[in-house]
């Protein structure tokens, strides 16, 4: 199956413009037991989904530019007024006002620390991260939430200071474009494609 032929999408005039193949069909195979009796069949398939980011698109676009965006509720009448959300929330979870986008890159560079972490050798199908994965949950000064990410350099510890790094050279435009490294890590130690932004 050639990847050139794999489906690509553009939005033009508010409509999807599709090019290439979005699914590949393969024949079924019988499943038999040791007596040779039919028990079932395999159902192979390969499908490309289309997924729109909507109001979160600026977050994923900016990762590729080395920026970490959050959002903030600026409704003066909201209980959560002034709360900053990372993960980026399009609307305030309390008043449902449209949040204001704020650049959290500097805050993250100064004061992010590991709230908790986990190291795992196990992954699921379609994983592209190198194993073991070191999950880190990062808290920032002045942010009401705790962001999940991964630490490709160093060993995690609770309370450890970390800074964000970004897949700016060949971005995937997904959350794996954002990672964290211990404060003081050198640019030369970063994984391929990553920079400090």
């Amino acid at each position: 199956m050639s990847t050139e032929a794999r489906g690509k999408v553009r939005v033009e005039g508010g409509k999807y413009r599709l090019n290439g193949k979005f699914h590949y069909a393969f024949p079924n195979d019988p499943i038999r037991n040791e007596e040779g009796e039919l028990m079932g069949v395999t159902n192979p398939r390969d499908v490309t989904h289309i997924h729109m980011y909507g109001g979160e698109a600026p977050f994923f676009e900016n990762l590729s530019k080395g920026k970490l965006l959050g959002t903030k509720c600026e409704n003066p009448d909201c209980d959560a007024h002034g709360s900053v959300f990372v993960p980026f929330r399009i609307h305030c979870p309390d008043c449902l006002w449209k949040n204001t986008i704020v650049d959290m890159t500097e805050t993250a560079n100064k004061g992010a620390s590991v709230h908790t972490f986990m190291i795992t050798e196990r992954t699921g199908a379609f994983n592209t991260l190198e194993k073991p994965i070191r999950f880190v949950n990062v808290e920032f000064e002045g942010v009401s939430t705790i962001l999940m990410g991964y630490l490709p350099v160093g060993e995690p510890e609770m309370g450890m200071k970390v800074v964000p790094i970004f897949q700016t050279k060949s971005p995937t435009f997904t959350i794996i474009d954002l990672a964290w490294v211990p404060q003081g890590t050198l640019e030369s130690e970063l994984p391929e494609g990553f920079s400090f932004g």
């Binding site: 196990r122 699921g124 994983n127 994965i133 949950n137 009401s144 999940m148 959350i175």
Partner: protein, 475 residues
């Protein structure tokens, strides 16, 4: 700091009492290649009918609407799988609906069934849950499960749900477990206990006679969790029949009062915001003031260590049923032991122990059928079915299985349903020579907790023998 309104915290009011009439379950296994899902569903329905001396056709005549718990369309590879089951059970033209709330699907199915009877819409309903997780290889199964996390913010990170969960385990382990060897052993004890009880259960997929050392030496999944700390992935079905008082007593002379309540919390753990601890009837506002001093790092609630959804399910359900102290008011519980450490966390969320002290429920011996330190009956035996670690986690069926297991104790029919040689034989399983009757003597009340993933949904199902109702106080 976020708060909840008076309206949101209202104790649920039901128009009429609801009864559990009967229930049943299939065999559970990691794979059951010789049967289609509907065959397992029918097995569980027949068990439920026979339990009250009815034929399936007799029992079906009473049912007015149907509630189907099936979590993962991906695993089933069949959208509207509920309709397939409904048709194969021959329950047309009754209204039916599918329910999916991750790991809490079974409990949520009971919740819907319960409200339907309580409202008067139906006099008698079927709650049926199932899951089939054996039709993809394990790594694709892991991806499917990880698809229940946020697909933009979490799933691409390893496609491994355990990873999203284990960060919470790590936090609890360091803050409340203080990384103590003794705490590690307490976790392992739960795995030993639940797998040991599973040996007495012919339905169970994961019976094992093991030691604390076996658990601690099993392969690391995600530190501090090891393979034997984790629950099973299963195939199987379980069902319950709920009815109003009149119908319940037409069907059986011994129905149980049932109460179900539900809570929720953010799908992404990352979105959790700080709040005051919502208190259960056996707690006081002062008792958690020094939690952060006693457990440095433990002052953020729920942080990554508490399950607000479980706390709220208990908050509503205890007040509905008149429960003040779960240790005194319940005779047994079935908890959602997805991992040994999350089992400990839930002791605190549901008020069996105060926050920070969950481990003492195990260390005191209170959680055992027979307290190993005193030789007397455990104060509040937990997961005598074997739980998710020893019996099964066929997601959509789990919360229903737990409820039926509790009910069989209150009905004083546990030994009949677990000791029958014919059942062991029919399931192709060998009854152990040291098979032990785990019936909780004189059980009158109990609870089952059904819990989704990192805590997005939790239900509390309380069963009460009608002669032993608790007085409902105003909270």
């Amino acid at each position: 700091m976020i708060t909840f309104s008076k309206q949101q915290l209202k104790v649920p009011e039901m128009s009429k009492p609801v009864y559990l009439v009967t229930g049943g379950m299939s065999k559970f296994g990691r794979s059951i290649p010789e049967k289609r899902t509907e065959e397992l569903v029918i097995d569980s329905f027949i068990e439920a009918a026979e339990f009250i001396g009815k034929t399936p056709a007799d029992l079906k005549r009473y049912i007015h609407s149907c509630y189907y718990g099936h979590f993962a369309d991906h695993f089933g590879d069949q959208l509207l799988g509920e309709s397939v089951i409904h048709d194969r059970l021959g329950l047309d033209p009754l209204g039916n609906i599918g329910i999916k709330t991750g790991g809490a699907t079974g409990g949520s199915t009971l919740w819907e069934a319960f409200k339907t009877v309580a409202s008067g819409y139906s006099d008698c309903v079927l709650a049926m849950g199932w899951e089939r997780m054996d039709e993809v290889p394990t790594d694709e199964g892991n991806h499917y499960i990880a698809s229940a996390a946020d697909k933009d913010w979490e799933t691409p990170l390893g496609h491994i749900y355990t990873g999203y969960y284990a960060v919470m385990a790590q936090k609890y382990w360091q803050v409340f477990g203080k990384e103590e060897e003794s705490f590690r052993k307490t976790m392992a004890e739960i795995a030993v206990k639940n797998r040991g009880y599973a040996r007495m259960n012919p339905h169970a997929q994961g019976p094992m006679k093991i030691t604390v050392e076996d658990v601690i030496n099993s392969p690391v999944v995600a530190h501090p969790l090891r393979a034997l700390d984790c629950c099973l992935m299963s195939v199987g079905a379980s069902c319950a029949i709920l009815a109003d008082e009149k119908t319940a007593y037409e069907l059986t002379d011994n129905p149980l009062l049932v109460y179900v309540a539900a809570g929720s919390h953010t799908l992404r753990v990352a979105d959790r915001r700080d709040m005051d601890i919502p208190l259960l009837p056996n707690e006081t506002p002062d008792q958690y003031k020094d939690l952060g001093e006693r457990f440095p790092g433990g002052d953020r609630y729920p942080g990554f260590t508490g399950f607000l959804a479980a706390r709220m399910a208990a908050y509503y359900a205890y007040r509905m049923a008149g429960v003040v102290d779960p240790n005194k008011d319940f005779d047994l519980v079935e908890l959602h032991d997805a991992f040994t450490i999350s089992d400990i966390q839930s002791y605190e969320d549901v008020g069996i122990r105060p926050y920070g002290e969950g481990r003492t429920y195990v260390e005191s011996g209170d959680c055992y059928h027979t307290n190993p330190y005193t030789g007397k009956p455990g104060e509040l035996p937990a997961n005598l079915s074997g739980g998710l670690i020893g019996n099964m986690h066929a997601v959509g069926a789990t919360g229903i299985m737990q409820t039926i297991e509790v009910a069989q104790h209150i009905w004083n029919r546990w030994a009949e349903m677990h000791g029958d040689d014919k059942k062991w034989e029919a399931f192709g399983r060998e009854k152990p020579a040291d098979w032990t009757d785990l019936q909780v003597k004189g059980a009158k009340r109990g609870m089952a907790i059904s819990h989704a993933g990192v805590g997005s949904h939790v239900t509390s199902t309380i069963l009460v023998h009608p002669d032993y109702q608790l007085e409902r106080r105003q909270s």
